[in-house]
């Protein structure tokens, strides 16, 4: 959560837009190719008015929910049957979710 950069009130950074797409695992389809990024940047630019609003002393409102301290007891509840868990799986394999082979990985 870094300090603000000039981009917020200026034109969006093309590299940042590309990074945002990559972070979200999205590629514009071949059909859209040229159109997607400029359209996206246009939308962003129209929202840049937000940066000009005076919010000094204002706390962010992340949610209108009035609740706090919602906790549940450590009690067992029925899990799904494995068939249900895998029912929508694109590639069930021996009771597992099958995915393209990976070496090592994130975790």
């Amino acid at each position: 959560m870094d300090s603000p950069t000039p981009s917020a009130s200026g034109a969006p950074d093309a590299a940042a837009v590309e990074r945002a797409l990559r972070l979200a695992r999205l590629a514009a389809t071949p059909l859209e190719g040229q159109r997607f990024a400029p359209e996206f940047e246009r939308v962003l630019a129209s929202f840049s008015e937000l940066a000009r609003i005076d919010v000094r002393g204002v706390e962010p409102l992340a949610t209108p929910s009035a609740r706090g301290d919602v906790l549940r007891d450590d009690l067992l509840r029925p899990s799904l049957e494995r068939e249900q868990v895998l029912a929508n799986a694109p590639q069930p394999v021996d009771g597992f979710f099958g995915v393209p082979k990976t070496v090592g990985g994130e975790s």
Binding site: A62, V70, D74, F96
Partner: protein
């Protein structure tokens, strides 16, 4: 290791909490079940499912915080940490970013060095992906959603040995507190290491992260190899790259896993599905009341108040089960040293003998009360040590009162003074030389007489009582 280099190490340890259910749903928190059988809509990230926080997980986290001397925050919240991987069902992990539930605290090492904790936070575990079975990678979500605490130290450690000691102490404390099993083999404890080297007084070196360490020994070994690698690199004019490396235990080397360029932007933001949690002082104190006396404090008490040796205190506190058993037995006994002695020797011997049928304290079928009684019988000479050992084995087979077994097995030493005297007189016959030696002051010579008396007694005499009787007779005559 070259003396010209300083080693700077920080550890991030993930411990699975000993709750019955997962962090945000009611699926069982159990190891070893068949794949994808402990899974529900929530922990498999089905569209529309929502998390609800497990209060026991929070309380165990608080217990850990108290056991490690941390400062508990007045309020805490959950944040989403985003990345894509096959074992992360929601495409984000619910974790804690800038408001962990506690900060500070730490562990004192034997050398007196204090290893500070930066923070401990709660988060959910990911599922498990298997990459070495067939043409696909296979994902099991049983582990997804299991509650974890992540304890992050400051970079206060300076050697593999210290890292090993820290982890051992952490495990001991968390086990004693009932927070986590901390079993690396079952994955309930995982450790990542951050290590850099620098010249004394020089600038902090580039830090490398080590992952995939599945035993304390591997942590130490990986550290040693990585430090050697970094030093070698720097001494030959190279640069250490900031990256994540995996430890290959078979080859004994660390390998690049990913470099900083691939580093993720996790796009943390507060999870809107989970309200803020207040940690008020009254509740924290209530949790503190559930905290048992921790190992270091117990050891100190055993030595100071009970007169045990530091070694025995250490053995007794190696596990909470042993320590608790000892203290339970102590409630029925005035002889802590004897109890300790029996536990650390005779009972421990049972565990390594397959014939005994018990492999650990948890498997002892007899109660501490009975154990205390057995030790008392041995201490007072009602049975010989050998006899007591025999009774102990019998108790393993069936948990009956030691007194009963003693009678049944005919192990009671003869208390009848008259009978004892008769045996002693008999043994003295023809042994005038030994008698003369003893009269002259060589009490050690008595030793040669005890055996024959015991033989006459068929083993049912207490050697101490025999010795006294012999002395008495020799002096009187």
């Amino acid at each position: 290791m070259s003396a010209a280099w300083q080693i700077v190490v920080g550890l991030e340890t993930h411990c699975q909490l000993a709750t019955a259910t997962k962090l945000f749903c009611g699926c069982a928190n159990t190891f070893g079940a068949a794949p994808n059988t402990l899974v529900c809509a929530v922990c498999s990230g089905q569209p529309g499912a929502l998390p609800v926080l497990n209060r026991e997980a929070l309380d165990l986290g608080l217990r850990a915080a108290l056991a490690l001397g941390c400062d508990v925050a007045p309020r805490t919240k959950f944040d989403r940490k985003h990345y894509f991987y096959c074992d992360l069902p929601k495409g984000y992990q619910i974790s804690q970013y800038d408001q962990p539930f506690c900060t500070g605290g730490g562990i004192a090492l034997a050398s007196g060095k204090f290893v500070r904790l930066a923070r401990i936070h709660l988060e959910e575990d990911a599922g498990k992906a298997i990459h070495d079975r067939g043409p696909y990678s296979l994902v099991d979500l049983n582990r997804a959603g299991v509650p974890l605490i992540e304890a992050v130290t400051e970079p206060d450690l300076s050697s593999a040995a210290e890292a090993h000691e820290y982890l051992t102490a952490l495990k001991e404390i968390l086990q004693f507190a009932g927070v986590s099993e901390c079993d690396m083999e079952k994955g309930s404890l995982r450790c990542d290491v951050n290590v850099s080297v620098q010249r004394p007084g020089g600038a902090r070196g580039t830090k490398v992260e080590l992952k995939n360490l599945n035993s304390f020994a591997n942590v130490a070994a990986a550290l040693e190899h990585e430090v050697a690698r970094q030093i070698q690199l720097l001494e030959s004019g190279g640069e250490v790259r900031q990256e994540t490396r995996l430890y290959d235990a078979d080859a004994g080397v660390t390998r690049t896993m990913r470099t900083k360029e691939d580093a993720h932007d996790y796009r943390y933001f507060p999870d809107p599905d989970l309200p803020l949690v207040t940690l008020d002082a009254a509740h924290v104190e209530r949790v503190r009341s559930f905290l048992p006396e921790l190992p270091a404090a117990r050891r100190a008490r055993y030595v100071a108040a009970l007169g045990l040796s530091a070694y025995d205190a250490g053995v007794l506190t190696a596990s909470r089960a042993t320590s608790d058993y000892f203290e339970a037995a102590l409630r029925h006994s005035d002889a802590p040293k004897e109890l300790a002695n029996w536990l650390t020797n005779e009972v421990a011997a049972l565990f390594s003998d397959a014939a005994s049928g018990v492999r650990s304290i948890d498997e002892l079928p007899f109660k501490p009360f009975d154990f205390a009684e057995l030790v008392e019988l041995a201490r007072t000479g009602r049975v010989t040590r050998a006899g007591a050992r025999a009774i102990l084995r019998a108790m393993c087979a069936q948990p009956r009162a030691p007194r009963e077994l003693m009678r049944e097995l005919g192990l009671e030493t003869v208390a009848d003074s008259g009978q004892l005297e008769r045996w002693c007189r008999e043994a003295l016959v023809g042994r005038e030389k030994i008698v003369a030696d003893v009269r002259r002051g060589e009490e050690k010579a008595l030793g040669a007489l005890i055996g024959p008396v015991l033989k006459l007694a068929g083993g049912k005499a207490d050697p101490k009582a025999v010795r006294e009787k012999l002395l008495e007779l020799i002096r009187a005559s």
